[in-house]
């Protein structure tokens, strides 16, 4: 099997890795990685992988990574169409070799809960509790730190995890599943000093984020504490 991948990759003008396993090892590579799984050009965030960090296809391109567990069929088909229709040059890649057209925006981009995030209003419980609030504060949602178009290109033409009340698990990032699923990390926001989120939205720092959060809570309008997605 490994021989096939190696031979095919070196025959191909362009190689596209589809899904976390092919991109960076995915779930099988979670410690202790019993099957010694590795992605095509990464193992988790470390460059290298099966083909090596410097590998290039016949067209001179690195592997195009379409991560996710699963990768959305639309991300896959659009990139394949782009490549097949001579637009490989338009597929700008980020530092993890993901197409920026899909992976520059965040999972949070387009999330129906952004107004609750804006005013720092937390969902308090699952089920009926998800008719209001944001899942970032208590339930480990990684929407503000995860690059994906999950709320721009909906799943099964209907919804997304965060819209349906499920916290984003960050499955388009190489660290997924985060914290290697250590006890106490599943569907729970990891905090410093019991209150400050350990991971704050990408590009912010804990101190300025906490200042923003304090101001936002003061400004929070009454509706932000009520159910928005009502029966």
């Amino acid at each position: 099997m490994k021989d096939w991948v190696y031979e095919l990759a070196n025959q191909a003008s362009i190689v596209v890795a589809i899904g976390d396993c092919a991109c960076w090892g995915g779930i099988p590579a979670v410690a202790p990685n019993p099957s010694e799984s590795v992605g095509l050009q990464y193992l988790r965030r470390a460059r290298g992988g099966f083909l090596g960090g410097d590998w290039r296809s016949k067209a001179g391109l690195p592997v195009i990574n379409i991560p996710g567990c699963p990768a959305h069929p639309d991300w896959v088909t659009q990139i394949l169409v782009a490549v097949a229709s001579g637009r490989a040059g338009d597929v700008a890649l980020d530092e993890l070799q993901r197409p920026q057209t899909f992976f520059k925006s965040f999972t949070q981009t387009g999330c129906t809960r952004v107004q609750f995030f804006e005013y720092k209003q937390s969902t308090l419980e699952f089920g009926q509790g998800t008719r209001t609030g944001c899942l970032f504060y208590e339930f480990g949602c990684r929407g503000p730190m995860t690059r994906s178009p999950c709320n721009r290109i909906l799943w099964n033409r209907q919804s997304s995890k965060t819209r349906a009340g499920m916290p984003c698990t960050g499955c388009t990032e190489p660290e997924f599943p985060f914290f290697d699923l250590a006890p106490g990390t599943v569907f729970k926001t990891q905090k410093v000093s019991g209150t400050i989120p350990r991971d704050v939205p990408t590009g912010t720092d804990p101190i300025s984020y906490m200042a923003l959060a304090a101001a936002a809570r003061v400004a929070a309008p009454r509706w932000s504490k009520e159910d928005m997605f009502v029966v």
Binding site: M1, G26, I27, P28, V30, A31, P32, P34, S35, C69, P70, E125, F126, G127, Q128, G129, T130, R131, C150, L154, W155, N156, R157, Q158, S159, S160, K161, T162, R163, A164, G165, M166, T169, C171, P177, D180, L181, A182, P183, G184, T185, V186, F187, F229, V230, V231
Partner: protein, 546 residues
């Protein structure tokens, strides 16, 4: 790819066929088959991939299975989530509000409703247009309907198969690989439009595929069929039935002989699925059977038995794991050995051999899947909330199991599960709870099980000091394609190959029918070679993989 050699000792045709598939779904399974005088006499199934999910789960967060196990399979992810959630419910002694049970039921049913047409058109029916059948009556019609990508039913069947999981996504956010079922309920809090949209989508799927294309009649008319004779009479009842995909398939399958091989042991296991919300408000291992809507049970050598998870064993005598132990999954061990070393000990696959210990009878290999479920549905003694359906008990006791019977059992579930899902949607009370926060107990044991589209799927979890001490998953594919046990008794699929006729050894499409009738994760290329010299005789494919 296939290679064939004629060994021909003393005039008898003796061949060794090696079926080395690239899965149409996923995973790799090799099947080695010995053939004498054009009939399969022995088979060895070899699961070629090791992923180690049970090893990964050790020491992790108790809820890690909700994230990890759905990823075991891209097409059964919702079923993995369903049983993983119940394993935690029983371990943590949760309380489930009725709405949570209903949403879980709806989601599980919708995943299976997706699988039925997708499996039939994309995985199974494309073998019906194999060139070996070119002279069969109805072949041109089979090509017109079922040819991959261009058949008149293929594209519609595959496309419409995506509709039921749109309903799944409304509650789970996405399909596959959501983790929205959690101990104590579900994460979603559906609104009015979520329910009305779900109804509209399911009705559209039922109208456009199930009734218009597949049945050629109403769901209720089909469900009046209570015996195999009823089914055959239904075909000829009118032109609409006769010319539907179902009617045509039944007629064509009989012409090409799909009713005459692929029987297997005739022994079946269902662990059951879907719960009555009132009966399983506090899930326990002991209370599970009585709360099921589609029942659990074992049918062996013509006798029905109650299912008890305590009687499940996994035998690693012929699997690439340390030792030759036969353990209950709570004590189960997953300690891989190098296949090169294992082969010298008579081991030949990565699948363990699940067996069911019938008290007073002994360990039995049991077939899992829709046929197993529908045979168990004929077990007497159903409560008012439980499914009783005699059709496939009648089929296996009158005409006997075969590829045709196994396929129809799967298709029969489409109208049944559609009706259930519609009823559960009507029973949702949007003003009541969908979740009750549980206490996360540091220690406990749990058992969760369901019926994935392709059969019984179960988790056993042991939690100790707030982390996973042991996690064992027994899949329908393991039940079906598992190897011989310590007593050298075949696995169910190995047995089902035995007796299959091979008309053209260079293209043994019959093996594909048997394998795919189980809907395991396998088979699209075949190679056959001389058992003694290993010389290649022919290469071929039995259908292109999806």
């Amino acid at each position: 790819m296939a290679t064939v050699t004629d060994l021909s000792p003393a005039g008898a045709k003796a061949l060794d066929l090696h079926v080395s598939p690239l899965g149409r779904v996923e995973g790799d399974l090799d099947v080695r088959v010995s053939v004498r005088d054009g009939v399969v006499t022995g088979a060895w199934t070899e699961a070629a991939m090791f992923r180690g999910f049970e090893i990964i789960l050790k020491g992790k967060d108790p809820q890690a299975g909700l994230i990890v196990t759905p990823r075991i399979c891209g097409i059964c992810g919702g079923s993995h989530l369903y049983k993983a959630a119940y394993a935690l419910d029983t371990a943590w002694k949760t309380e489930l509000p009725p709405n949570a049970t209903l949403v879980r039921n709806i989601a599980q049913a919708c995943e299976t409703l997706q699988s039925i047409p997708r499996w039939f058109y994309a995985l199974f029916a494309i073998d019906l247009v194999n060139k070996n059948y070119a002279r069969a009556e109805g072949y041109d019609e089979a090509v017109r309907r079922f040819a991959p990508f261009v058949g008149s039913s293929y594209e519609a069947g595959v496309t419409l198969s995506g509709k039921p999981v749109e309903v799944y996504a409304i509650y789970g956010g996405q399909w596959p690989h959501s983790s929205f079922m959690i101990p104590g309920g579900v994460m979603c809090g559906p609104t009015l439009a979520d329910v009305t949209r779900s109804i509209a989508i399911l009705e559209y799927w039922k109208d456009e595929w199930l009734e218009k294309r597949w049945l050629g009649c109403s769901v209720d008319r089909w469900l009046e069929n209570r015996s195999w004779a009823d089914v055959l009479a239904w075909v000829d009842e009118n032109e609409s039935h006769y010319n539907s995909d179902c009617g045509f398939f039944i007629r064509y399958a009989q012409r090409i002989g799909l009713d005459r091989f692929g029987a297997g042991f005739g022994n079946y296991l269902a662990t059951g699925t879907y719960f009555n919300p009132e009966k399983y408000a506090r899930p326990t291992i002991e209370g599970r059977n009585a709360a099921l809507i589609n029942r659990s049970g074992v049918f062996a050598d013509g006798i029905y038995y109650d299912f008890d998870q305590a009687n499940v064993r996994e035998d690693v005598t012929h699997a690439f794991y340390e030792g030759n132990h036969v353990l209950h999954p709570f004590e189960g061990r997953t300690e891989p050995v190098d296949p090169a070393v294992g082969r010298k000990q008579g081991k030949y696959t990565w699948a363990k051999a699940p067996r069911y210990e019938i008290p007073g009878v002994g360990a039995k290999p049991l077939e899992a899947g829709p046929l197993a479920r529908q045979v168990i549905a004929g077990k007497p003694g159903a409560e008012s909330w439980q499914d009783y359906d005699p059709l496939f008990h009648d089929a296996v006791t009158t005409v006997g199991p075969s590829v045709l019977v196994r396929v129809l059992a799967r298709m029969h579930e489409a109208p049944k599960y559609y009706k259930l899902a519609r009823r559960w949607l009507d029973e949702l009370n949007l003003h009541e709870k969908f979740y009750i926060k549980p206490q996360e107990l540091p220690d406990g044991r749990g058992f969760g099980s369901t019926e994935a589209a392709r059969g019984s799927l179960s988790d056993w979890i042991v939690i100790k000091d707030g982390k996973i001490e042991n996690y064992q998953v027994v899949t329908p594919t393991a039940w079906n394609i598992g190897p011989r046990d310590g007593k050298e008794i075949n696995g169910p699929m190995e047995q089902a190959f035995v007796g299959a006729p091979i008309v053209d050894p260079s293209d043994p499409v019959e093996l594909g029918h048997v394998a795919r009738s189980f809907d395991s994760c396998l088979v699209c290329t075949v190679h056959a070679y001389d058992e003694k010299s290993g010389r290649e005789l022919a290469r071929f494919r039995i259908g292109e993989g999806a």
